[in-house]
């Protein structure tokens, strides 16, 4: 067994060059696998958006720190859950702290609240607050943006979100209920 690998084999694994154009492909694949894994149609939009946010975030980090390294996405349908893990390999610097998962500004529409251990501290590798617009305040501001808008969106969409340090970077793990177990 490869250290750090889950015992459960992912239904689909993919890697892609950290380019914005490929994020859409990742979204489409994730949505297709989620549907095949039995995720309810009403939740597919949430899967699509959350995976897109996680991949966009990883692409930005990779472009800044390691543009030659691919972004990794694992999609697993098992035990009545559909789980997505997006892993970047850029934040290997020991001085980097894990990003805070902001709370959503509004209650979730379905499912239980996040069970995520909400870690403290900013992520210096990802100063992304609301895309690359220079007019956007980096840490919130008069317009009321959360410090990390992408993570705020993910936290508001996924049932369960966990950000953890992997051997070479950070991974965002998120999951939704499913009825099937596509393999």
């Amino acid at each position: 067994m490869i250290p750090g690998r889950s015992l459960t084999m992912a239904t689909v694994e993919m890697t892609f060059t950290p380019l914005p154009a490929h994020v859409r492909t990742a979204r489409l694949v994730a949505t297709a696998v989620a549907r095949r894994s039995g995720v309810a149609e009403a939740l597919l939009d949430e899967v699509r958006l959350a995976v897109g946010e996680a991949c966009s975030r990883a692409v930005e980090v990779h472009q800044e720190h390691c543009p030659a390294e691919p972004v990794r996405v694992a999609l697993t349908g098992a035990d009545r859950r559909f789980e997505v893990v997006v892993t970047n390999t850029a934040a290997s610097d020991d001085s980097m702290e894990m990003p805070t998962i902001p709370g959503p500004a509004a209650p979730r529409s379905a499912g239980p609240g996040p069970t995520t251990p909400r870690s403290a501290g900013p992520d210096p590798a990802t100063p992304r607050s609301a895309g690359p617009d220079p007019a956007t305040p980096p840490n919130g501001g008069p317009l009321g943006l959360p410090a990390d808008l992408g993570l705020a969106v993910i936290a508001g969409l996924a049932d369960d979100v966990q950000v953890s340090r992997t051997g070479h970077g950070l991974s965002i793990r998120m999951s939704w209920p499913s009825e099937g177990t596509a393999r």
Binding site: V23, R24, E60, A105, G131, D133, A135, T136, L143, G156
Partner: protein
């Protein structure tokens, strides 16, 4: 689907019609258009999102950036959106309190003119 952008002037308000997906790949085009409009003196903007199929936080950032730019000139940026899946991301991020969100372009223009 790619992003399609058009704009026209109605009652002295610039209406931007957006169609397709606004994400990390396409959002820079919308940002450039909004910057161009502001640089050309258009400070009253309505962004019609009725044909937007996907919007992520990068797109939200572009809209917030546009709002900041027009506000610097005492202008406004209102949105037209009735799609629940798009509205949801505004609610999650609390941006429903930041933008004026309307059901139609006519309603957005009327609301803006009534505030003048």
């Amino acid at each position: 689907m790619d992003l399609k952008l058009e704009h026209h002037t109605t009652d002295s308000i610039e209406v931007v019609d957006v169609e397709g997906e606004i994400d990390v790949y396409t959002a820079p085009r919308l940002r450039e258009l909004l910057i161009d409009l502001v640089n050309n003196g258009h400070y009253q903007l309505v962004v019609n999102m009725e044909k937007v199929e996907f919007l992520d936080s990068t797109g939200l950032g572009v809209l917030v950036g546009g709002l900041k730019r027009v506000r610097a000139h005492d202008g406004s940026l209102d949105l037209v959106c009735t799609q629940e899946r798009i509205l949801k991301i505004f609610r999650i991020t609390g941006l429903t309190k930041v933008f004026g969100i309307h059901d139609s372009v006519d309603e957005a223009i009327a609301a803006r003119k009534s505030e003048k």
